[in-house]
Amino acid sequence: MCNSPGSLDQLDRRIVVATQAGLPLVAEPYLQIAQQLGTSEAEVMERMQRMLESGIIRRIGAVPNHYTLGFRGNGMSVWDVPDEKARLYGRRIGALEFVSHAYLRPRHLPEWRYNLFAMVHGKDRSEVMEKIARIADMLGQDNQAHEILFSTRILKKTGLRI
């Protein structure tokens, strides 16, 4: 079985569309999806299992809303680290338990010098600042500059379209 994106067929895509907002909250959710799509429960389960194994589905489960759960501080920390060490530090920062996403991204010099992004979560802003200080300690002299961008407002939030 080929796992490239191109191997998703029409039925796979319909399963994605039917489930991207969530799994039905009924005793037999996969059966309900199957009935909705005119296929069998076994077919839906098998295809979802396959998408899970190939990483198309990252995971199945509860996605907590960190804001309402009391993680009111969420800072996007951005770091300028030497390019040749960026991947090493990306892995280290990504392994920290308070970091939800870490990415290597392109710089846009001279306006934007940062190449490493890490979303840091805490109960409030001061906890976020403390955690960012820990990252700065870890980077030492390789931290050429960093900033924290706090979000002030959600302007738009929708699901992904496929």
Partner: protein
């Protein structure tokens, strides 16, 4: 939220079964019954303690394009630009941030090739440059909150 709700959030962030009666299976591990688990998940969704329950898809592996974009817009133009950016259906999330780069949005397109043309359209409509910051590498996604 009580101890059981917290246990549900902590346990079910990791995985949820693909099975004929998945809620029953998950409920057994939590020491509650199926109906109670379903009802509690429903309630946490309603109260927005959970933002969703179900599969989390990997957009690029689905064949789509995804990118983080930033704009640096003067304060007095902010509302107009934000509104124009939001009007593009490809803009999935958009956040105001306290920085010179004050608009940060995620573009999700059906194909990776579409990203560039949507970016250009946003630049033309708003009159401001869009800084494209697609990820070059992802190190970790998916914080597990312990509540």
């Amino acid at each position: 939220m009580d101890e059981t709700d917290r246990a549900i959030i902590n346990r079910l962030q990791e995985s949820f079964p693909i099975a004929h009666r998945p809620y029953r299976q998950a409920a057994q591990a939590l020491g509650i019954d199926e109906a109670e688990l379903i009802q509690r998940i429903e309630q946490m969704l309603e109260q927005r303690q959970l933002s969703r329950f179900g599969p989390l898809y990997h957009a690029e592996k689905l064949g789509g394009g995804l990118s983080l974009c930033a704009m640096n817009v003067p304060e007095d133009q902010f509302e107009r630009v934000a509104e124009q950016v939001n009007a593009f259906p490809e803009v999935a999330h958009n956040y105001a941030r306290d920085h010179r780069f004050n608009i940060w949005f995620v573009l999700a397109t059906e194909t990776p090739q579409r990203i560039d043309s949507v970016l250009k359209a946003i630049e033309q409509t708003t009159g401001y440059p869009v800084y494209n910051m697609p990820k070059e590498e992802e190190f970790f996604v998916g914080l597990r909150f312990h509540v």
